[in-house]
């Protein structure tokens, strides 16, 4: 297992000689996030502590408004925590960023061609034009869109756009990929195909991933561990290991009886949170 993780792929630099799984890449301790004016704050996130090992795929699963995206955004440095610490441990000897985010739909720049979108992170780091195009191209091939390099995002379907988004994050070669419901806006079939794609790409080099979703089946299909969150204020309710062997097949997994049992188990954990979240939204 461990050896697999070091093999192949896109410049994955493993910590020398150290067992990979012992190394926490993402470390969040006691995160708390308040929103709103002083005196009228609402708590979005409460006592959120999580360690994600190098090469692990972890999902944050919870009802809408439970703070799972907030946790992700704090790790991405797009928000600051009200208290607690969030750290991403860097590997040494690289100038690539600690994290790259795969956003929900419509995060590609409509005015940049597909290849320029993929190369965006490199451009921001000051990589010269020819070099960044050369480096971006294999990743566009990786997501099967080499032919669309010079198209604009507006000419692509939703699924294709999310592939580009995935390539954009991968080119950056970050220590950690943070994904914020990247497939939420896709229809059921495209969602399945994208899960399949993500499995295929991820299983090649196993980057550390924190994946936010509200879909139980998606979390099971993709993750090593699922972190179930409560309704607001978001806390971690339960952490579930998903022991399906890899490489996985997103479609076949669903036919497995263990998949059904696991998803029912998770639903029972989640159900009251969803009901609470609904009551909150109505109230």
């Amino acid at each position: 297992m461990r050896d697999d993780r070091q093999k192949g792929g896109l410049d994955f630099v493993a910590g020398k000689g150290r067992p990979l799984t012992d190394e926490a890449t993402i470390e969040a301790t006691g995160l708390r996030k308040l929103f709103g004016m002083p005196g009228h704050e609402t708590i979005a996130l409460e006592d959120f502590s999580l360690a994600v090992a190098k090469g692990e795929f972890v999902s944050l699963l919870g009802p809408s408004g439970c703070g799972k995206t907030t946790a992700l955004r704090i790790l991405a440095d797009l928000e600051t925590a009200s208290s607690g610490t969030a750290r991403i441990h860097r590997r040494k000897g690289t100038d690539s960023p600690s994290n790259s985010m795969v956003f929900q739909e419509h995060s590609l720049f409509p005015w940049l061609s597909v290849i320029d979108n993929v190369a965006y992170g490199l451009e921001m780091r000051g990589v010269a034009k020819q070099e960044r195009l050369d480096r971006a191209r294999p990743f566009l091939e990786m997501v099967g869109l080499a032919k669309f390099a010079n198209h604009y995002p507006g000419q692509l379907s939703g699924g294709m756009r999310q592939r580009v988004s995935l390539a954009r994050a991968y080119v950056n070669d970050p220590d950690v990929l943070l994904m914020d419901e990247p497939f939420a806006a896709l229809d059921a079939q495209n969602k399945l195909i994208m899960q399949q794609e993500l499995l295929r790409i991820w299983e090649k080099d196993r980057k550390t991933v924190l994946f936010v979703t509200h879909a139980i089946d998606e979390a099971i299909v993709l993750s090593d561990r699922i972190v179930v969150m409560t309704a607001a204020p978001g806390r971690i309710k339960r952490i579930i290991s998903v022991d399906f062997p890899r490489p996985r097949n997103a479609a076949e997994m669903r036919a497995d009886s263990r998949f059904g049992n696991l998803s029912l188990d998770i639903w029972r954990t989640l159900e009251e949170e969803v009901l609470t979240a609904r009551a909150q939204a109505d109230g």
């Binding site: 991405a76 440095d77 797009l78 960023p97 994290n99 790259s100 985010m101 956003f103 929900q104 419509h106 995060s107 720049f109 409509p110 005015w111 940049l112 965006y120 992170g121 451009e123 921001m124 780091r125 000051g126 604009y152 995002p153 507006g154 950056n172």
Partner: protein, 255 residues
């Protein structure tokens, strides 16, 4: 059904050029058949002769040159200043709070109404006319640019921040391309307004320019010369609009 093999874009352009030509042909025919009084509405051929005479004497070039100069300079100044201020207002709450009421107050004033004021400030020469054009375009562009900046999807800023965009790239790769379409739609409206204002100022206070040509010909009842002026300003407007359209096509190829 027979279908043209010309690509739609080219066909569109041909139509754009052909429609005024067609109008001229109809006009000439109507004049020759005596259906309209040639003393008040001369035929295109008469106007053509007048055009030729004005060209020969060098007058036409002087007038067109003067108008073109004022329009181009005023338009450019107004656009650049408007984009700069509009961006500052869009990006900075304090600047927006300070300047928004001023812009809102000045915008509805017909620029021709404050033209005397502009003449006091910029003199009775080109300066005041350029200023009138610039102000017209400037206010419109300011408002459009600000609106454009404010309506940029926050998600794009998240992406830029997540990928650690340097400040300069934030402008060149995000803000400017995002607001270009709305700026262009503002400039198209601005062009029409600018022509109105410019011709009006040339009517009342000028010894040159197409507006002056029209007005002085009217005063002497040289109707054919007047029409030369009207046609010149029309052609100028069409050319400017075409340049804008071409610029827009090149600068916003994703649209």
């Amino acid at each position: 059904m027979a279908r043209s093999l010309t690509p739609p874009v080219a066909r569109e352009r041909i139509v754009t050029i052909l429609s005024p030509v067609l109008l001229l042909v109809v006009w000439e025919l109507v004049g020759r058949l005596g259906m309209i009084d040639a003393r008040f509405i001369p035929m295109p051929s008469t106007i053509l002769v007048a055009t030729w005479e004005l060209l020969k004497s060098g007058e036409l070039l002087t007038h067109v040159g003067a108008t073109l100069y004022r329009l181009a300079l005023g338009f450019s100044i107004g656009t650049v200043a408007g984009i700069a201020l509009g961006m500052a207002m869009g990006l900075n709450r304090l600047i927006r709070a300070a300047i928004d009421p001023l812009v809102a107050a000045i915008y509805p004033i017909p620029k021709i109404a404050i033209f005397p004021l502009l003449m006091l400030a910029f003199g009775i020469g080109d300066g005041s006319k350029i200023a009138a054009v610039a102000m017209t375009v400037f206010l419109l562009t300011t408002i459009n640019t600000m609106t454009g900046v404010l309506s940029i999807d926050k998600a794009y800023f998240d992406v830029a921040r997540s990928f650690r965009s340097p400040r300069r790239k934030l402008y060149t790769r995000l803000i400017i391309p995002a607001i270009l379409p709305i700026i262009f739609s503002g400039l198209r409206i601005g062009l029409g307004l600018a022509l109105v204002v410019l011709v009006a100022t040339e009517f009342v206070a000028s010894r040159s320019g197409i507006g002056y040509l029209i007005w002085s010909s009217w005063e002497l009842l040289l109707v054919d010369r007047m029409f030369v002026g009207i046609i010149c300003i029309t052609v100028l407007g069409i050319c400017f609009a075409a340049i804008l359209k071409e610029l827009e096509r090149r600068l916003t190829p994703w649209r």
